[in-house]
Symmetry: D2
């Protein structure tokens, strides 16, 4: 009953081999809740050290060759040097994330602010991100806004939409032809009464107004309870505007836990729709990224495990017997159709993925191999002194 | 401190006088939950008697001059005769609602069904609704689908979307140039795993693909917990596609309770956005309808109260000091802006509305006037025998 | 990597062999939503035929030797004859469920009604259930109330609690010393504003007031979104009052889908707490029941699959390396502790359970064996004519 | 139609005059989300300045004569001096809140930690709070725990409950006979997978085990979506264990917004149950406290407005025609019962409360009077330099 790599058709094996997952630089820094950020040993103190850590994840999993930056958290003097450092570690710099929620000026909004000076400052912050993209070779600018209001009446919802549309268009116009804008939506937090881009419908409306190179980022933790996320995946794919995932897990709010840790079956269903739509291939334009915070657990193994979880869900999705599924669906045989799907989910694909890793010269067990590498002991000693990276730095 | 009609500017008074609310024929029939439909005396036995009851609501409130029909629940031999009957009672027939969820053939879907014969049957059911529109003079076809699946894998989400798009386009093409298609979305129920039009984003995507005369219906009970409904109102108004409301209240699911009974502040916020956007005027294209079930309470006073609740929320929205609000907003004076809004909400507009009714020759207290009319005692006696109208009839 | 039955310690194998799951008679009848009950061929027409179907589930799974009855849905002339019929089919009658939500008199409540005549009628309905228990040998009376209100102010929440407490005490006093009362809670539906036993805290307060033989029933679909159900399992076990589960799945409301079909990881976590607390053994007093509605899918295989899903979750829970888990927990090694749990969940226990079935003389694949048995074809022909069983009959 | 103080019966006027609301010291410090704490001018730099600000709220509302402290946020050298300072400002020190969630040692729990040294440290932190109570004359120790886990398997839910029970009993035993322990529950945050006291059932189980002087604190923002909070109020009152409210508003999570700003009708329903149960009187043992964060709005007027909102909801609850309500309830006249309640809610009680304030020598409009006082301009100048108080200080 053990499933082997050879049990998959070559097309599926090829998709598994080509799959990549992008890591977030901030996952390697300290993080926490509004109540407390707990420090941990070995935490990086700058963008270079974050990249070193990200490279470890790729070294042991083989599927995380890119790392996203957050500006200004990851500002360095020379971004081309940082890009060169990444390459020297075997990875590249990926998506550039703007941050317009941690400056005092943005208390009442950034790209939506009725104060034109503040709004211009926020737009300019994005133009500087485009400069970083030009220096690093990144082709994607990701915009997640903390904008919104806390109280009914605080501001005009409609006027903020107009200002947002205008701000986005200015930014979009400054992108080079090979660069794209990725707009992320979020149901709540840090604003409580309304957020300015709360749902996929709003994000889609804005990117459609911008142009072909504007796409939507789906963060799996940014929905209301009970939302069918894989349905949204399908809708965005139908519209040709699913640009990326921010993968993570949540039990109630935007918990930013390890992807697959709260509801592995949901992750599988999402990957099933991706595979069904033919959107797994690197050419599909869908970037699979992580967006997580390791508040309590170790950060590097947390990222390794996350990448493995996405890989397992993908392998299970590739295991689905699609001919049998289609047949049961058309026959309205509800139980058989469901069981075809569940049969793939219930399978243990870990041996298969171990073989895939060995095929690539990797240890079949990335977590154990990382633990044995001594890397954590080394950084715990080396990284004493200086300021640990965290939210806001 | 009592607020009088004369305290409102003439423009606001005019909007209040012109406001209309459309009643649903099914609100006068028996309804219930999956567990039980409790009967009540005086319940109508056919579409004519439902119209008689709806006319009573208009007689005492003066703001409910139309009634929506549900096909086939309200099928009669001669719809022009039914329309004439309505006119003789002082009201007209409004939106035509299709029902493709109560025929055995629709067990696995209607407009989305992979069985082409069933899908064609569902399309044809809508063409018959258009026939009814032509006979009654109704200009709006409302489509709410019960379609969806109960289990992951049961059917292809994407294929169902394609079939839905095709079905809608056939229906749309059969509308006369003065008629419009109104597409309603619903988060869950009667399907549990996924519904085929679960959110405003999906509804908007479909109506945009159809054409200018396709618009979205927002049912206030059809969202996930915590959803900011007034934000969606703004988005649909911005897109020019807010066609109508189905007003009701809910505490958790699609409770279909009396509008304003669960969260009157939310209803006020919705009307505030409507007024802010200039969408209250009859020419705005937004139809304010009720969609409720009076499972336990008396049905005619339930509808009277519902219409009054919408009217009160509207009057409060018209009371908002918009100049003061705009000033506080631009100054980022959060508390003042919020208080300008709350000041209107905290006001008691019942005296003002009593004056409005008296101005129109109505009793200032519609509920008391209805109770004193003896109508209920009469129908309780007259409507013995026959089959009471209910879900499905 | 395939896991065999022999990989489990004998104590775990013994627990698996002794596990039983109780079936609900109503799962074999037609069911639906408030919108529509779709009929299906072969549906039983009375309690005898429901028992025949339940016996098929036991015949192929070997772990469902009991069936719960719902009174008055399953009323027969001679309950001892029904019990004898069950025994002749290899199963026994289990829990007796009262129904005080489908009589017109209960429109405004049953055990909580301020009308003493109605309240007495509802109490008497339970005393008749106790008569049924005495006739069938059932030792458990399960009470799920549809009582509640739809509108704020409709009734006094506090007064209803007092009446409920009094009603329950009268019923409890009428139980024989070997019989117990099982009180179920439900977050919402059929009442919308408040239900009289909405949560485990309320249920526990009532059973503590009654006495030692009053316990709580946890229906896995009866909680607010985001509720940690396994935490409640632990609390009720700590209090010594977890009497039973009503297993099913839900995506948003009380969907009554096949257990394990919406969130198999949640089901595993629940069984993990059961095993951790030593509450899996038949002597623990916790009855594992199903409470499901098969609206679209075939009913007998739906129940077979449900029983198998509980069994799989149990086997995985028994696979957890508890020594390793305890070590990682005490060391605050978050990732390792989590991975010990996930390692069991990610395992494929279907081969192990196939071996368990073969050991008991059963087919390793119950669904295929049932499909091959020809039973469905037989009942589809035999059960033509008569009235199919459904909600309310 | 304007409602005057004289329209209330003397008993109701007396209850209004005697009502007090306790202020939280932390509401006057800066606060924010995990993303950012925005500073604001005039923010206090120590406990003395917080008390000065709290005294302003009482000066203008006349109903907030107490302020709660948070330890160690409000630690001073001499608590009796701080108490004297409060008295000199016209207020007293109230509830003492423990904080065992911001020390690095508590990363994996405080009163529930399996590390006995950490658990002892957390218990000792509470004993020091009792010392503060003895020094300040406070009679209530409030415990809100941040304890919980982020991942399934991270720790044993059951073992944590046992350790929590033990910790609480040690603390309880150290209280003087006139002091009480107030245990607060919270659905989620800062822990994501499970919190150790997530619901009222858990809190009640613990306080019942402790003894008569242990009671439950209900924070209105700490429940799952859709939870009927007034039902819980009734349950805790029935059990004699409703010790206090932490009032605030939320739209989705624990937003800590101004009470009454998100759902004023819910606040009214809560106060209606309080009044119905006779729990408004100062002798009832229910302490009405605020627990809010003013992230964007001015803090002192934010607290003034909050106190006014509770007062308005109380006045409306006292307006309910209880005889008419009881009559409609017993007659099962759903609409009339609901309308009796809504009639009170729809009334504008602001004139009545203005009269109450004038009767007490206060300005009828506290917000305007505060704004005119020049206090804010003064502290904005005076409180430059030093460290502004915030979360964690």
């Amino acid at each position: 009953m053990t499933i082997h790599l050879s049990d998959l058709p070559e097309s599926a094996r090829s998709l598994l081999r080509d799959q990549t997952i992008e890591l977030p630089s901030w996952a390697f820094g300290n993080s926490g809740t509004r109540f407390k950020v707990f420090p941990s040993p070995g935490t990086p103190r700058n963008a270079y050290e974050k990249i070193d850590d990200a490279a470890q994840v790729h070294r042991f999993t083989g599927i995380t060759p890119r790392v996203s930056l957050h500006i200004p958290w990851d500002v360095v003097d020379d971004f081309s040097d940082l890009a060169e450092h990444a390459r020297s570690q075997g990875i590249t710099l990926g998506t550039i994330n703007s941050n317009v929620f941690q400056d005092d000026d943005y208390k009442f909004g950034s790209l939506t602010n009725s104060d034109e000076a503040v709004r211009r400052k926020a737009i300019d912050a994005h133009l500087r991100c485009i400069d970083v993209m030009n220096a690093t070779g990144s082709d994607t600018l990701k915009i997640w806004l903390g904008d919104g209001t806390n109280y009914p009446g605080q501001d005009s919802i409609a006027a903020r939409q107009e200002r947002l549309a205008d701000s986005l268009s200015v930014i979009y116009e400054n992108l080079a032809p090979h660069q794209r804008l990725l707009l992320e939506y979020k149901f709540f937090e840090p604003a409580f009464y309304h957020t300015d881009v709360p749902d996929w419908g709003t994000a889609l409306a804005h990117v459609l107004a911008l142009g072909d190179r504007a796409v939507v980022c789906l963060d799996t933790g940014h929905h209301a309870p009970g939302t069918n996320i894989e349905f949204i995946v399908v809708q965005l794919l139908r519209a040709g505007r699913l640009g990326a995932f921010d993968f993570n897990s949540r039990f109630y709010a935007d918990d930013d836990l390890i992807v697959g840790s709260a509801d592995p079956f949901q992750l599988f269903r999402i990957m099933h729709e991706i595979v069904s739509f033919g959107a797994l291939a690197p050419t599909s334009g869908v970037n699979f990224m992580l967006d997580q915070c390791h508040n309590l657990e170790e950060k590097i193994p947390g990222e390794i495990l996350s990448a493995m979880n996405v890989q397992e869900a993908t392998a299970k999705a590739l295991l689905v017997d699609r001919a049998a599924l289609a047949k049961a669906q058309v026959e309205h045989d509800v139980l058989t159709a469901n069981q075809v799907l569940m049969d793939a989910f219930s399978s243990d694909v870990r041996p298969l993925l171990g073989e895939l890793r060995e095929e690539q010269g990797l240890d079949p067990n990335p977590l154990a191999a990382y633990a044995a590498s001594g890397y954590f002991a080394r950084i715990s000693v080396d990284r004493v002194g200086g300021q640990q990276a965290s939210w806001g730095a």
